[in-house]
Every structure is written in structure tokens, then in C-alpha cells.
Amino acid sequence: MIPVNVIFLYSLIIFCIGLWGALSRRNVFIVLMGIELMLNAVNIAFVGFASSLGNIAGQIIPIFVITVAAGEAAVGLAIVVAIFRNRLSINIDSFNILKW
């Protein structure tokens, strides 16, 4: 039995790695991946808490989260495709017509 603190710390680390990825990468896909990593960190936290609390709800929540994340990814990819047609680029830095 892994102590809940360890699981929590683990999820926190994963979350921060995802955060770092989302903040620092310039390729839209990698940014999206970073965000997915954040969401998965949350899932880990939920499952960890659930097992330590002996509460089934926390194990079901990740299923919702994964579903929503899938929806977001689908829409995200579609939007990236749309913007790629306009700009011929998926570099996040090149999307700055709208500013100040």
C-alpha cells in the first residue's frame, strides 16, 4: 500500500511537469500534451485519494475527466487544423494578430 502522501506528491510532480510543458513549448500539440499531462495528474490524485479514503467516487471521477479531455483534444485538434490552413504554422508564437 503506497501512502497517500506519496501518491499526492507524485501527482503534484506530474502536474508541474505538465504545467512546465504547457508554458514553455511553442508547438501547439506539445502544449496540448502538457495540458493532458496536468489532467492526468489530477486523475492520479483522485484515484489516490479514493483508495486511501475507501471512497468509490474518486475512482469514477477520472472517467469523466478522461471523457472531457478527449472532447477537448478533439476540438483542439480541429481548431489547430483550421488555424494551420490560415497561417501554415502551428507555432504558438505566430498567433499574435490579436494583441494589446
Binding site: 504547457a22 495540458i35 496536468m38 489532467l39 467516487a57 471521477i61 472531457v68 481548431i79 483550421a82 488555424i83
Partner: protein
């Protein structure tokens, strides 16, 4: 088998009938859209209009009812019902201003209205839920269609860019929001608001929950567009199709504020002094930064974006007052804000014509001579946004300020009052442009009928409910009783 089911209390399906109807209408539009010839795509819009009318009356019958079902996760009460009524009123007008606009943008597709419906379902779930995960699901059900709507004019690079920015910000922040929920779950063992309240009542405050409160404010703060989570708003508002901007500047913002209100009031009741302080700071920053930054904008959509950031600050005052007057003034303010803000954006749509988006300050130049009535109506909206009597904006601001004062937030009141002075300046920039400058000779105005109807309706509502606010006030008082009616 019967033994197994015996222990489970079957949920009360009647509670979600409006949501189901909205879903069905959305799917219906998607289904029949392929069979509608390209010239008659407006039919989709009419279905949506009709749908919102039906939903309005169906939901109206829920007024006064109080149902908590789905294992304490879903609640129908006067607050959620009046919020749903608000969504239908606002969405009705949004559809009205979209009808002709989409044709002008050459993207009159049925999906638009279907997505609007699905987003509405998400918001309805949001205001009704009493469970953090339900909030999350509602938020995402609302947000995903919004990303698509923001990029609805696919071939327009500004629209696509705003969609991408909105999506990235939205998804990113939803991760933070979820982490807040996870922390709450870890600390209290449940995501239900009732359980959280019970847990904190029995076990006292838990430091982890202090973090969770801020993370949740951050997650919902994105849709509310409060500082420092507002950075996406001006970009997205500017790039998105104007009708969508009118929508996302009002309805999701209101839904998120309503959700935040419920989470804080019902879930973190015992943390009130703490989140009041957090929101105090955020509200002050939001009012200051929103109003001050708007001053130098010369794109009207962008200016209105900053103005809507500022209005979010005023609305936060309603939450942090944490009293009955606060809630009722907030509900009133929602209606007031929707009339005037959608109205102002409708005017931008009204100016949309060949090669002209209608969102630059120059596009408003000399409108008083080209179309005096439209200019007058715009002035009504601007006055209302600035909070000049006798408009809804004034009554709303007055109520919210009173609520904050009643809760003892003097300095916040002073900040709010002072920033309102600033707001007047930039609103009047538009008025000045319309009245005091000569019109530029360019494409004639199209004056589409549906937009005309919408702006007149909104202008009349803006004035009438400013002079006679009782109907909305009654609804607002009913909503406030949900939290404070002992």
C-alpha cells in the same frame, strides 16, 4: 436483483426536463440541418428561437419548486431556475442578432445554433449542480462548444486564432480547476457541497481547502474574466464573430459567477471571511485594470471586452457581500448587464456590412446622421453601462454597491465608484464619435430587420426595467431566499 436496487433511491427525472429539452432541440437542429437547402438555413435559427421560448415557459413552471435529486448533486431551486430563465432570455436575443450576421459572414450553418444549445445545457447544469464534479462537467459542456463558436468563421484567421487562444486558456485553466477539486476531495472525502459543508462544520477548517478555494476561483475566474485570468478575453472577444462575442461576454460569464456563488455559499460557507478577502482583492483589481485599460482602446469590441472585465469586478462585489441583498442585486445585475452589453455588441453587428466589421471607432463616426435612432439606442446602452440613471445599469450598480456597503466594504465601494468615473470616459468616446464627428462616405448600412428588432427590444428593456425594476427584483429576491431564506 430486486434486493440490489432496493437500496438505491431513483433520481427525480422531472428535475432535468428543461436540460433534456434543450439537448433534444440541439440534436434536432443537427439532424435536420443537412436537409435544409443552403438558402433556407435560417430555419435553424427559427427553431432555436422557438426552442428558447419553449424552454423559457417550461422553466417558468419550475419557479417556486425546490427539488434536490441525483444524490444531492443536482438542485432545482429558485436561484437556478431564475438563472436558467436568464440564459433563455439572453440566448433568444443572441440568436436574433446572429440570424443575419451569419449570412453576412457566409457561415450560416446549423451547427451554430446546435452548439449554442449545447453550451446552454452546460450552463444549465452548472447553475443547478451541487457537486464540484458536476460543476466541472457543466463548465466543460459549456466551454467546448464555445471554443468552436469562437472559431466559427473558419476562413477568418482572426476568428481561428481567437478560438485557439480560448481553447488553450480554457483547457489549461480547467486543469487547475480540477486540481482544486481534487484537493477538496482529498481533504473532505467528497465533492458534494453538502458533504463539504458538513465536514468543515464538524472538523473545522482545513488548510488544504484554502488552496482549493483559490484554485476553484481561478478555474471559474477564467470564464468570469476577472484579473489576473482575463488576458484571453480582449483577444477572443475581438477575434470571435461578433454575435459569439456578445454571447461569451455575457452568458458564460454569468453562469460562471452563479456557479462560483453557489460553490462558495453552499460549499465553503465557513470560509466566508477568507474568500471574501480573496474576492475583495480580485474584484478591486478587476475593476481598476478593466476600466483603466479600456480607456486607450480604439477597437469597440476590445473596449467592450475590457468593460466587461470591469463589470465582472462589479459583479464579484455581489458575491463577496455574502448577504441577501448581494445575491438579489447580483441577479438583477445579470439581467441588466445582459440587456446593455448584448445591446452594445448588437450595434456592432448592426454596422457590419461589406468589408466593414463595424468594430472600429471610426465605424461609429457620424452614426447620428446616418441612422439617428441606432445612435440614440447605442447611447442608451452606453449610459446604462456607465451606470447613469434611469437605466438598468444604474439600478444594478446602485443595488450592488448598497450590498457591498451593507457588508461593510467601504473601500471597495470607493474604488468601484471611482472606477465608474473612468468608465464614463471611454463609453463617451463612442458617443462622441457617433454624434460629434462627420460620417465617412462608405458602404451604406444594411439595417437588417432581426438585428433592429433585437436592439429595440434591448433598449426598451434597458429603460423600462430601469424605471420599473420590480418584476426582475421579485425574481431576484426569490433567488436570494435560496441562500438566506431561513
Amino acid at each position: 436483483m430486486s434486493n440490489f436496487l432496493a437500496g438505491i433511491q431513483f433520481p427525480d427525472i422531472t428535475a432535468i426536463i428543461p436540460e433534456v429539452i434543450a439537448l433534444i432541440i440541439g440534436c434536432l437542429i443537427l439532424l435536420i440541418d443537412p436537409f435544409i437547402p443552403k438558402q433556407k438555413k435560417r430555419l435553424n435559427g427559427y427553431i432555436a428561437l422557438f426552442g428558447f421560448v419553449v424552454l423559457f415557459f417550461v422553466t417558468l413552471s419550475y419557479l417556486g419548486k425546490s427539488i434536490v435529486t441525483f444524490f444531492d448533486m443536482f438542485s432545482v431551486d429558485n436561484f437556478s431556475t431564475s438563472m436558467k430563465l436568464f440564459f433563455f432570455v439572453a440566448n433568444f436575443v443572441v440568436v436574433l442578432i446572429s440570424l443575419r450576421y451569419l449570412e453576412m459572414e457566409d457561415s450560416n450553418l446549423g451547427e451554430y445554433y446546435a452548439l449554442l444549445m449545447f453550451a446552454t445545457v452546460g450552463m444549465m447544469v452548472m447553475v443547478s449542480s451541487k457537486d464540484l464534479i458536476m460543476f466541472y462537467i457543466g463548465l466543460e459542456t459549456m466551454a467546448i462548444p464555445l471554443y468552436v463558436l469562437a472559431g466559427f468563421i473558419r476562413m477568418n484567421e482572426r476568428s481561428a486564432e481567437s478560438a485557439l487562444k480560448y481553447l488553450l486558456m480554457g483547457v489549461f485553466v480547467s486543469g487547475i480547476f480540477l486540481y482544486g477539486i481534487a484537493l477538496t476531495y482529498g481533504a473532505t472525502g467528497s465533492t458534494k457541497l453538502v458533504d463539504i459543508v458538513r465536514f468543515t462544520y464538524i472538523n473545522g477548517v482545513n488548510p488544504i481547502l484554502f488552496v482549493a478555494i483559490i484554485l476553484i476561483a481561478c478555474g471559474l475566474g477564467l470564464e468570469i474574466a476577472m484579473v489576473p485570468f482575463h488576458f484571453w478575453a480582449p483577444d477572443v472577444y475581438e477575434g470571435a464573430p461578433t454575435s459569439v462575442t456578445a454571447f461569451i461576454s455575457v452568458v458564460p460569464k454569468v453562469a460562471a459567477i452563479a456557479a462560483l456563488l453557489r460553490v462558495y455559499f453552499e460549499g465553503f460557507t465557513f470560509f466566508a471571511p477568507y474568500w471574501q478577502t480573496v474576492l475583495w482583492l480580485l474584484s478591486a483589481l478587476t475593476m481598476i485594470i478593466g476600466n483603466v485599460t479600456a480607456v486607450v482602446q480604439d477597437n469597440v469590441k476590445r473596449m467592450l471586452a475590457y468593460s466587461s472585465v470591469a463589470h465582472a469586478g462589479y459583479m464579484l462585489m455581489g458575491i463577496l457581500s455574502f448577504n441577501e441583498l448581494g445575491v438579489s442585486s447580483l441577479v438583477y445585475y445579470f439581467f441588466a448587464y445582459s440587456f446593455m452589453n448584448i445591446g452594445a455588441f448588437a450595434l456592432v453587428i448592426y454596422l457590419r456590412r461589406k468589408n466593414i466589421v463595424g468594430d472600429r471607432l471610426e465605424d461609429f463616426r457620424g452614426l447620428a446622421q446616418k441612422d439617428p435612432i441606432a445612435a440614440l439606442v447605442m447611447v442608451v446602452f452606453l449610459l446604462s453601462l456607465a451606470g447613469v440613471p434611469p437605466t438598468v445599469g444604474f439600478v444594478g450598480k446602485f443595488l450592488i454597491f448598497s450590498a457591498a456597503l451593507k457588508a461593510g466594504f467601504y473601500w471597495l465601494l470607493v474604488i468601484a465608484v471611482v472606477t465608474s468615473v473612468i468608465s464614463l470616459y471611454y463609453y463617451f468616446k463612442i458617443a462622441r464619435s457617433m454624434y460629434l464627428e462627420e460620417p465617412v462616405a462608405d458602404e451604406p448600412l444594411l439595417q437588417p430587420l432581426s438585428v433592429k428588432i433585437a436592439i429595440f427590444l434591448l433598449a426598451i428593456l434597458t429603460v423600462v426595467f430601469g424605471v420599473y425594476p420590480t418584476p426582475i427584483m421579485n425574481l431576484a429576491d426569490l433567488s436570494a431566499k435560496v441562500f438566506f431564506g431561513y
